[in-house]
């Protein structure tokens, strides 16, 4: 059995095929749990019980809903632009699933003499790939809004474009300090500073006393900016004007039903999981964590456990925000994005880069002992 697995993973083609199928299955199964998790947590926050009938604690509720959506009629309005209308839900899925392929969700496993990384592939420019893919996500919403041939989807599409472009800028700027820090820590011209596997490795060890060496302790402003932009980027409350049901019915997916609607829904939850996983990888040490002295045969379980624990901690914040905060007004959203988030991230980027440059080239005065960035 072991030698069979080893042979399978030593073959590039089969290893890639297994990873892709596994990533797909993992994301879909994770969405089933995430939707249930959200409904239960929101229910408890609102003093309700939430779905509790299908399966233990109602955990099969999403599966039931998903199956129902599969078999529902798919209504196609007469005025749609058919090709693009059908393409939009798929365009939502593809970038969402591709992003996950570069995120390492566990320590590399050694089977025999083959090392299997728990990551689709480790791109040299993984971070840039993530930014590129998340910038493609806006297409599905724009095209869905435009091709539906009706006014509410169009309004949703216009809102989505403006919102996602604005917050993408802040998100990209929040990632740059991570690359700077990784490059400075790596030295040697910073080769590999955009690879996610390297960024996780760099966060090993401890920062001070018992505090782990996660980047969040150096880059707290970046982490906060990244997380807020991520909430906006995934169109979640309080930034869910794109599908504000009290104003524009369902926004871009008003004219979609059945499985086509389900694909949009799936993409939204996969994106939510992805941005949380990226935040964990960049700032919270990824899969790093104590191994709690498990026997060596089971040691590979702990990194995966830590990764999912941290990711679900951030997803809990997503749900918490949705249950707590009212929706922003459109002008508030725009002025917050352009007048608060982007200036803050540029200011922090300049400040941090100057400090890192001084660390590299020498300070003009003595740095006090307590200063953690030196």
């Amino acid at each position: 059995m072991t030698s069979f697995l080893e042979g399978l993973f030593a073959n590039t083609f089969w290893s890639a095929a297994i990873k892709v199928v596994a990533a797909f299955a993992l994301l879909v199964a994770n969405t089933l749990i995430l939707v249930w998790f959200e409904r239960r947590v929101v229910a408890f926050m609102q003093n309700r019980i939430g779905p509790n009938r299908a399966g233990p604690f109602g955990i099969l509720q999403t599966l039931a809903d998903g199956l129902k959506l599969f078999f529902k009629e798919q209504i196609t309005p007469r005025k749609v632009e058919l090709g693009i209308y059908l393409m939009a839900p798929m365009a939502a899925m593809v970038p969402a699933f591709l992003i996950f392929l570069v995120i390492p969700f566990g320590a590399p496993i050694t089977i025999g003499e083959t090392t299997v990384t728990l990551q689709g592939t480790d791109l040299n420019v993984g971070l840039l790939f993530i930014l590129a893919m998340s910038s493609l996500a806006v297409y599905s919403i724009v095209l869905a809004g435009w091709s539906s041939g009706s006014k509410y989807p169009l309004l949703g599409g216009v809102r989505a474009t403006a919102q996602m472009i604005s917050y993408e800028a802040a998100m990209g700027l929040a990632i740059v300090p991570v690359v700077v820090l990784a490059a400075v820590t790596l030295g040697e011209g910073g080769v590999g500073a955009m690879s996610l596997a390297r960024i996780v490795e760099l966060q090993q060890g401890s920062f001070r006393w018992l505090i782990p060496g996660w980047f969040v302790f150096w880059l707290l402003p970046s982490f906060l900016i990244f997380f807020v932009s991520a909430v906006a980027e995934t169109n979640r409350a309080p930034f869910d004007l794109v599908e504000a049901e009290s104003e524009i019915v369902g926004g871009y997916h008003t004219e979609y039903s059945g499985i086509r609607f389900a694909l949009f829904f799936l993409a939204e939850y996969v994106n939510m999981f992805n941005v949380s996983a990226i935040a964990v990888t960049l700032f919270l040490g990824g899969w790093l964590g104590p191994d709690l002295g498990l026997p060596s045969g089971l040691a590979w379980v702990m990194p995966i456990f830590w990764f999912f624990l941290k990711t679900y901690a951030l997803l809990f914040v997503f749900v918490w925000l949705r249950a707590t905060l009212p929706r922003l007004r459109y002008d508030q959203l725009m002025s917050f994005g352009w007048k608060v988030m982007i200036p803050l991230s540029i200011g922090w980027l300049v400040l941090f880069s100057v400090v890192m440059a001084l660390n590299t080239f020498g300070w003009p005065f003595d740095v006090p002992e307590w200063f953690p960035w030196a």
């Binding site: 693009i84 791109l123 040299n124 420019v125 840039l128 590129a132 910038s135 216009v158 993408e168 955009m194």
Partner: protein, 172 residues
């Protein structure tokens, strides 16, 4: 050059497929009567050029191209179309221009100039020591090509200021 040998290399076949796709998409950009379809065809053409960069091993340039051109510039095109040309779904106004033949001539002449210039300069010699890694790219950009780089950003700044001037409503 032996074409049979050339085509037996799988990379060359991939190149031909991508290049033909790009040419077809580029032709559709200018012939499509629907402005949104034209923009989507432009996405296909740019995606093809990103794929060519990937084939050359220039990952950074390829993904930067996807991020900037496909992910931002064309999205802004679509945004502009949606807030200015209100018709949704099938566009009743066919996109056309009466001076399309002179435009085609200019485009063809530009292509001929660029193609003959690059053929005259390099012919079929392989370029060694090209810049592909991200670090090298940064070094070259901020040393040898720093003046053109700054000039380009100056042009962008001018365009930005121009945009603000056009959009301002206050008199005087």
């Amino acid at each position: 050059m032996d074409w049979g040998d050339w085509l037996s290399n799988s990379q060359n076949i991939l190149f031909v497929v991508i290049a033909l796709l790009m040419v077809a998409a580029a032709v559709r950009v200018v012939t499509s009567p629907n402005v949104v379809h034209a923009a989507l065809m432009l996405v296909l053409a740019l995606g093809g050029s990103a794929a060519l960069f990937l084939m050359l091993g220039a990952e950074f340039v390829a993904w930067a191209l996807v991020l900037v051109y496909i992910g931002a510039v064309i999205v802004l095109f679509l945004f502009g179309i949606m807030i200015t040309r209100a018709p949704t779904g099938r566009d009743p106004v066919r996109l056309d221009h009466e001076r399309r033949w002179p435009a085609a001539l200019v485009a063809l002449a530009t292509f001929a100039t660029l193609a003959s210039a690059s053929v005259a300069a390099f012919e079929d010699e392989a370029i060694e020591g090209g810049v592909s890694s991200t670090g090298d790219l940064g070094d070259v950009l901020f040393s040898r090509f720093v003046i053109p780089f700054e000039a380009v950003s100056f042009v962008l700044l001018a365009a930005l200021i121009g945009g603000i001037v056009l959009a301002r409503k206050d008199p005087g």
